[in-house]
């Protein structure tokens, strides 16, 4: 578990680590064998990051993009008062900052949630592959469009839903995305967020988040502990969370 790239990752071929990415992109856009080979051949630096490590900082030059190979990530912004708002959560297999592709400096912070292996890919390489391969470009663009759609739903979530609905909605989203990525088992998935992070993602305080999670547990909707979330009653949870997965635009 503590070993870095020296052991498990170096042994695994990139093909394996990029497989989830290619699988997702193929849903968006038909990729030829050449396209896939080009993606696999992307110049890229594998690196390990620890809990809460920063991948990109608000206001600093963004020269690379980061693909999560293992572990979760999140993005956040700080406001004047010092409060933090988490803007998005990312599952293994996702890019955390593809939206920076054409921006010279990042407009927010990107962090690892837990210990993660990350493929650090120079933006220039991605821009080049996008220029040369329209199908890949389309897939990348779609990644950013879905990311944007999720942001819009988050605006709605923090703007117009009460605490219980808000947290239920967040959990529904994350379980659905994990399911779509093949990362669930019997309505359970890995869930590395602390209650403080859930609070910062929903615009609540940690204390109120704690109490609200308790009511969700008491109602028999979820079970959440030690980095594992289990949905006990999807029907009622999604109803409570005012959740519809349309905005995730999961084709197929």
């Amino acid at each position: 578990m503590k070993s870095g790239w020296g052991t498990e990752v170096a042994v695994l071929s990139y093909q394996l680590l990029f497989a989830p990415l290619i699988k997702r992109w193929e849903r968006y856009s038909p990729l030829s064998d050449d396209d896939k080979q080009a993606v696999l051949a992307l110049s890229c630096q594998p690196r390990s990051f620890g809990r809460d490590a920063y991948l990109v900082r608000d206001g600093e030059p963004a020269v690379n993009c980061h693909l999560l190979l293992t572990g979760h990530g999140f993005r956040q912004k700080l406001v004047k008062s010092g409060a933090r708002q988490i803007i998005s959560i990312h599952l293994p297999g996702e890019f955390v900052d593809l939206q920076n592709l054409f921006f010279d400096v990042g407009d927010h912070n990107v962090q690892c949630c837990n210990r993660s292996d990350v493929a650090v890919i120079p933006k220039a390489a991605l821009i080049q592959i996008a220029a040369e391969r329209p199908s890949v470009a389309r897939a990348m663009w779609l990644d950013t469009l879905i990311d944007a759609s999720i942001s819009r739903e988050w605006v709605v979530n923090v703007g117009r839903r009460d605490a219980k609905t808000r947290i239920a909605h967040l959990l529904c989203e994350l379980v659905t995305r994990a399911r779509n990525a093949g990362q669930t088992r019997n309505d359970s998935c890995e869930f590395p967020m602390t209650q403080e992070q859930i609070a910062d993602a929903t615009g609540l305080t940690p204390v109120h988040t704690n109490r609200t999670l308790q009511t969700l547990r008491r109602d028999g909707l979820i079970s959440l502990s030690s980095s594992k979330l289990t949905v006990l009653d999807w029907e009622r949870l999604s109803e409570h969370g005012d959740f519809s997965e349309r905005y995730l635009h999961h084709a197929g």
Copy 2:
């Protein structure tokens, strides 16, 4: 003012009406004369829409994209309780729904703010021009990336700022975008939003929005009436609103 396409618009050439769009896109990406001609030659249907008219509806097929030639637009989603969250505001010269380019059905509603002239462009035509002209594709992609960046800032705004800061921030954003588009005169710009719409954009109630606007006026920060916003003290307004324009990614 009441005349539709029969008079002023028909007289003006598309070149004039598309000028703001091309000007913006040229900031993002170098466009050749051919590129510009191709944009001007886009198959497109001019239409007039009235106040609050729907351009796209949540859950319905999205076959066209809409470019605002005159007038403002906004996008919104409804939640279970019936409340409405406005997701973004759009100035004349902007696309309101370029994010739907690769989505078959819209995931939210798009409306005109006031009486607007809109270029209705088939998505197929935009997809084609993007496929044939990488520079144009890049400009379009950047439009969607900036749109996404604004959504992220809105998550922060409604999630972690108090009412006064929240409204001040919204006003700062809109004035800055209007200024960037050449639509201000002495720190004044057109501002067609009702207080109810400001409330729905900031996640507040109309009553509280009203009281908060009064304090902004009383503090001598703004003057706002009859569709016109004037910033009386930009320094203090942007300070109050915790506003930094970096997220708008306005190059040049």
